[in-house]
Amino acid sequence: MPDFTRQKYEVLQLLQEARALARSRETPEVEELLNEAIERVTKGQLFVAVCGEFKQGKSSLLNALLDELALFPVDVDVTTAIVTTIRDAEKETIRVWFEDHRKAPMIIDRREIAKYVTEVANPKNEREARLLAIETPNQHLHDGLVLVDTPGVGGLNVRHSDITLALIPNADVVVFVSDALAPLSQNELTFISESILPHSRDIIFVMTKIDQEREYERVIDANRLRLAPLLGHDPEILGVSSRSKLDYLVSSDKEDLTDSRFPEFETTLWRVLNERSGHLLTLRGLTVLRRALGQLRTPLQAALDGYRSTSEKEIDDIDARLRGALERLHRLEEEGAAWRTVLAEGLDDIRRVVLDHEYDAGVHRARSRIGRLLADERYVEAPARLVESVQAEVVALATALAKSTLRRAAILQARIEASSSVNVALGKMDAIVIDVEAPDVAGIAEAHRGLWSRVVDVGKEATLSGTGAGLFGSILGAIVGATAAFLTGGLAAPAIAVCAEIGGALGTIAGTATGIKRGLSTVNNEDRENAQRTIRETITPFLDESLTTCRTKVDGSFSALRLAMIGDFVAKLVQERKSLERARIDLEGARGATHAQALHRAAEIQGYLDEIAQIESRAATLAESILASAREPSAAEPSSEPSSAEYGGRNPS
């Protein structure tokens, strides 16, 4: 079992135990919080982008990976360039989305897939399909794996390059597929170095069709030799045989499975996924668990203190503190609360940093990079590549700005929560917190404090956006014109707000790009100087216009982001308030209890508290091991070439 699957199972186990406790304590609001967390962990998605030149090889690879003999039609002839997503569901539903945003998606049968993805049945994509979304019960997808099959690299797939370009920087892992019939071509190397490496270092290189070439190891060596200078290290390349895996499905012969090398491929896939983002999903589950446990503990601790008190006066004191805390919460919920100003000002600061500093730096990079390409005479023969490069730059900038905005917003939110926390010392009840992310929680050993702040740090990136890739789902949704929540598993509202705008921007830019490509295709490149000037005069305004669109849309997303963050914070305040109100009711129970009753109740409450502490300590151990198996969440390490991905990844402090 992959680490991720095991850890996810354990997190779910803890969440369910806590939910049982919440149920027995009759605290529906805590139960609801835990239900949500369970759903998010269960449905949390990991996006794997499958790229490569040969559609045929990719379709077979996906079939083989999913143990499906013929889900994706494999045809010797070319297939239509259409983005396909596959994820797990209880029952199979396959939807086709169309170019025309107003046209509703159509539900089709799996036998009809060929009608949309093969050139024979759908020549030149005359059906105008834009995206094929497959949901199907499949054990390989149980853990939230979403496979996204992208149209081939290079080529002239004008209409779909926007989706591919938006996807790659945001995928959790990119699987690059080539085959053993030929070493990586220069087309492929160019795609890797220009479209993948600036945005993601999490690439798994898979070489299919090893059954076709006896000396496939030589092809692997040749590919390593070609990739090493691009990557700066000697990459691992996995040779696989989809055919042998599919043979195995029929023959059940272990030899076929071994020859296919798919078990190795899956292990690698999960290892990289876990390192990259799997841990974010599980850690996020654990932080919600801690918050829920805190909300369960507050009333119990109040009641315990009440039963252990020696006088009414002591109970009055505790109640007074609870009332004080409640009053603060009420004030926080009010319209004029200071945090609203802090939030508004904080977002203004973020807007300045992102839109002035980061945007300007991004514009500078994009311009100098495109400028270099424009000066390169060889591009005269491939002006469409320039258009794609502009798109790639702008998409990278837009998503980097979105990520940075969300990351900064998450940190701002954490700060506001920490500074507003009702942290009143109540005798032995030494902490009432509204923010689970504050480190001083009773019952957690000192050593664990550092641990949880690391968990929180690591998880910050994911607080608003699910996983790093969670963004992609809604960008994709926005591009196909679906509701923003399309494909996303429990994406937080602030992320949706930002992604919808970005998706819109990318759609607009893609539309312009199509026209520009068409225009440039007629440029006569005989007279190179003239051609170069014409190309420059077309590309430069396109770049400027696209950058402006990108800025306008990111700017436009801030008001929706503010409303979403306010809603989010107020919801948390309400939960905390309910927890405190319950604490007052429980405390009332302690008044007038006989000594024997008090002893009995105290022991009972202590039992609950022990159970909470026990779950908490197991959570800490688990968090420790998840952190150990994870890599720090990093955007692409900057390559020698300054890349657009650099704008992300920095904390403002």
């Binding site: 010797v76 071509s185 220069q186 090893i210 059954d211 030799l225 060889r378």
Partner: protein, 528 residues
């Protein structure tokens, strides 16, 4: 079989007449003792006309150029392998004894080497710096196809945009770009071009078309270019007949107007299987016989995977690992499978197996096509391009102020244009060009007539009339008369919308007339 060339000029061939014309003009050009560009052009044209047709084999890297070349020659001359391996241009010409001459860029005298050293001069495992100094390698072999055509193996076109920092790689990249330039130049100079592509058809037809028209498009017209889908055997999977699959692809591509305007025809081959068949040894044959004796299930299972077949014993097969590896290397999986089929169906010796495999590979058919299309029309195609070049050189010279030079150029240009006008074949070429450029509006039947009568489907009289080779004289005459009448009416009654239509319909009508004339003129027995 009777050809139109014979019909129009019974005594001497078009080529000889063209050569005589050039000789005459060469004398004219040197009358005043000076040479000049026009003289050079004429001299060059004469040399080209005297030499066999030059066919350049071009395509992206790993398109299977070297393998197909070897298969056409039926001998493994140029090195091949799973990694792209051709970093030098190899010019294969007819000659005995076999020898190899290395030509350098820096003006050094050419070096004669043993042909066994070829791999050292074209592959990149060899000293990469030395590669840089080579302009091309000339190989002479006493090979039948080379007596009809020169074949030029070229390195794959490098993509114009590559990233690479490693020293060897950047060297190879620079070399690749340079080679692309040289290859382009060679393709421009070649009389005909074979465009190869493997299954690396990307995601769209446009990408394939780009391959044809991209880097080597210099002078490509449907007259001098043939597209070849190589490596058809890789489609062999889940029971698909790879040849049929490949044909489906080429047929669809050929229905694309853009492709039709670029290629004379598009065909598919299994280069590896053909080469393996042509070079099959007695040992290979024995191993194949043993394999064919096993059950189908055992055979299919054994050849599901190349590494498996090479590295693991096949149950019931008494063959060494070396035997099995040799088979995989020479025939490939599909070739082995087909060999067992043919052995089961009566191919009982090495020779008949070789023949059956070759026939199935599509390579002999391609060779036929090359020789009949390029070989048969070679003179017309070459003379046409020679006329163009001389005429434009003469035109340039006519702009000069020097009176004698101008007069001389005028006379040469006049002689050439008279020659052009006297030769009906050139009018046919013009009509075809208009068709391929999409300037003619014709019904499917008319298109058929145009293509047949102008020799696109063979240059015999019956082929030109769209009839079987054994059609009787009576039928030939009847059809020629009918078609002549039809086209004559079309050319005269119908007021054509364009100059091109008028010229083309007249040409077609005139060709039928010439055929009729030929049928009347020649003795009965020659037509049978």
């Amino acid at each position: 079989m009777l050809s139109m060339e014979g019909a129009i000029l019974p005594d001497i061939s078009l080529r000889t007449r063209a050569l005589r014309l050039i000789e005459r003009c060469l004398k004219l050009a040197t009358a005043n003792g000076d040479g000049g560009p026009l003289y050079d052009e004429l001299f060059d044209c004469r040399e080209r006309l005297r030499q066999p047709m030059r066919v350049a084999v071009v395509g992206l890297t790993n398109a299977g150029k070297s393998t197909l070349l070897n298969a056409l020659l039926e001998e493994a001359i140029v090195p091949t392998g799973p990694i792209e391996n051709t970093y030098t241009i190899t010019w294969l010409r007819h000659g005995a004894p076999p020898r190899m001459t290395v030509h350098f860029k820096d003006g050094r005298p050419p070096q004669v080497r043993d042909t066994s050293e070829l791999a050292d001069f074209v592959g990149w495992q060899s000293d990469v710096r030395a590669l840089d100094l080579i302009r091309f390698v000339e190989v002479r072999r006493p090979n039948a196809i080379l007596s009809r055509l020169d074949l030029i193996d070229t390195p794959g076109f490098a993509s114009p945009l590559v990233a690479g920092t490693n020293a060897t790689l950047s060297f190879l990249q620079a070399r690749g770009n340079e080679l692309s330039a040289i290859t382009r130049e060679e393709a421009m100079k070649a009389d005909a071009v074979l465009y190869l592509f493997s299954q690396s058809i990307h995601t769209s037809d446009e990408a394939v078309i780009e391959q044809f028209q991209g880097p080597a498009s210099g002078r490509a017209t449907p007259f001098n270019s043939i597209g070849v889908l190589t490596k058809a055997d890789v489609y062999w999977n889940t029971g698909v007949d790879p040849i049929a699959a490949a044909t489906r692809i080429t047929t669809r591509l050929m229905s694309h107007p853009k492709v039709r305007s670029l290629l004379y025809s598009l065909t598919s081959v299994c280069g590896l299987m053909a080469l393996g068949a042509a070079t099959l040894t007695e040992t290979n044959f024995v191993t194949l016989q043993k394999l064919a004796a096993l059950t189908d299930e055992t055979i299919s299972r054994a050849i599901r995977s190349a590494p498996r077949f090479a590295d693991r014993p096949v149950p019931g097969l008494n063959a060494t690992a070396a035997d099995r590896q040799a088979l995989i290397e020479s025939l490939g999986l599909f070739g082995i499978w087909m060999a067992t089929r043919f052995l089961r169906n009566g191919a009982d010796d090495l020779h008949s197996l070789t023949r059956a495999l070759l026939q199935h590979s599509g390579v002999p058919q391609l060779r036929e096509l090359l020789i009949s299309h390029f070989g048969g029309r070679a003179d017309l195609i070459k003379i046409e391009s020679a006329l163009h070049r001389v005429e434009s050189a003469a035109f340039r010279e006519m702009q000069q102020s020097n009176e004698p030079t101008r007069r001389r150029a005028e006379r040469i240009a006049g002689a050439f244009s008279a020659f052009r006008n006297s030769e009906h074949g050139f009018e046919e070429l013009d009509a075809l060009k208009s068709y391929y450029d999409g300037k003619l509006v014709l019904s499917p039947d008319e298109t058929d007539d145009l293509l047949s009568v102008s020799g696109e489907r063979g240059t015999s009289l019956s082929a030109r009339l769209g009839l079987a080779e054994d059609a009787s004289r009576v039928v030939l005459r009847r059809v020629a008369a009918e078609k002549n009448a039809y086209w004559y009416t079309k050319a005269n009654d119908f007021a054509p919308a364009s100059q091109e239509m008028r010229l083309a319909t007249n040409t077609v009508s005139r060709t039928y007339e010439l055929i009729l004339f030929e049928l009347e003129r020649t003795p009965e027995k020659m037509h049978r």
